[in-house]
């Protein structure tokens, strides 16, 4: 075991710290989300993007109801806690009264695609200058793994025990495919946090969505595919692969709309911008 490196304290040799435990806009690292959950990774991309743009003291988050709601206790951001599904409307009212403020929503798939589908569609169609962040894990995680409007065909949940059957349960909604074409949508992208490259790309997407908002281009949305091994009933270490192969097949990642223009094919966000 001689080649095991001590990791319980900073190195003794001269070294530069290049990554902090947590984003600067976090109050603590302490949260009760499950092992292997993707939502804290998505939160990191959002908090770091706010800092990147220098908007820490000019930013309001409007939070939906889901597991991620528990993360609000560690967010060092001004927040409005909304009802399940209603965050885009609440964000609309806030933005109209505080147009200079960066306003984003944080919603799950149950929140946005089930309970609040009408709200997000109209907010996009109005071209409201807010950014909606959709954390999509394809299940109601907080209730323990139930089918949502984004659950993929064949996926087993507590109320689709033999897998989602299109004939019986209906088809999943591709949220970015639905929202990107709307006239008021300036920017639409779907990222994924199943690996480090995905987290890095997602962060660029979130930042580009925020930039679109700050330019006043209109509505922007970033859907982030997140692991929910608890709600998927799989071992935690299998979460990333399940996300990539099962969810990613229907929920295609990449930028779908930039600068108000739909892309022919979803593409990675540019590296240097």
């Amino acid at each position: 075991m001689s080649d095991i490196i001590r990791t319980d304290r900073p190195p003794e040799a001269a070294a530069r710290k290049t990554g902090e435990f947590m984003p600067t806009l976090q109050l603590s690292t302490d949260h009760d989300l499950c092992p292997g959950c993707g939502e804290p990774l998505a939160l990191r991309t959002v908090l770091e993007s706010i800092v990147d743009l220098g908007m820490s003291q000019q930013c309001v988050g409007v939070i939906g109801i889901g597991c991620y709601t528990a993360l609000t206790s560690i967010m060092d951001v001004d927040l409005i806690q909304a009802l399940h599904g209603r965050a885009p409307s609440v964000a609309t009212g806030s933005k109209r009264m505080r147009p200079e403020t960066l306003i984003f929503t944080l919603q799950g798939d149950g929140d946005m695609a089930n309970e609040g589908l009408q709200e997000v569609i109209h907010t996009a169609a109005r071209g409201e200058s807010v950014t909606c962040i959709l954390l999509n894990n394809g299940v109601f995680g907080e209730t323990g793994g139930h089918m949502t409007a984004t659950t993929v065909i064949g996926q087993r949940t507590k109320n689709s025990l033999d897998g989602r059957d299109a004939a019986y349960h209906g088809h999943p909604i591709d949220m970015i495919g639905l929202l990107a074409p709307l006239g008021g949508t300036a920017y639409a992208a779907r990222g994924s946090v199943h690996d480090a490259a995905g987290v890095a790309k997602t962060r660029r997407m979130v930042r580009r969505a925020f930039e679109a908002q700050l330019r006043g281009d209109g509505f922007s949305i970033v859907e982030i595919l997140t692991m929910c091994p608890t709600g998927w009933f799989i071992p935690t270490e299998e979460g990333p692969d399940y996300l990539d192969t099962v969810m990613g097949e229907i929920h295609v990642t990449g930028e779908w709309k930039r600068d108000g223009q739909l892309l022919q094919q979803a593409a990675d966000p540019p590296e240097a911008d």
């Binding site: 490196i5 990791t7 990554g19 435990f21 292997g36 990774l41 990191r44 270490e237 990333p240």
Partner: protein, 83 residues
């Protein structure tokens, strides 16, 4: 000789043992240690050969990683990552 261009500090006390960092590590220098922390989660350990890339930090849901890059790469005897 194995070279480490970087290293990490692992806040093992808050690790929940999800193992997401293991496959995320490009040089494959993280592995599960067999040790358990106070909440009963098996925690990772670091072998020689870390590049300080920060991939583990990006995929850790529990904010357990702090990343360092050495001013001068450190060398270690031995085989480094288990092949």
């Amino acid at each position: 000789m194995i070279e480490s261009r970087g290293t990490v500090v692992i806040a093992a006390e808050r690790c929940k043992g999800c193992e997401l960092c293991i496959p995320a590590c490009p040089p494959k220098v993280l592995r599960m240690s067999g040790e358990r922390n106070a909440i009963g989660a098996e925690v990772p350990e670091l072998l020689a050969g870390c590049t300080g890339c920060g991939a583990c930090l990006l995929v850790c849901p529990d904010f357990c990683f702090e990343i360092y890059r050495f001013e001068t790469p450190q060398t270690h005897p031995g085989a480094g990552a288990a092949s």
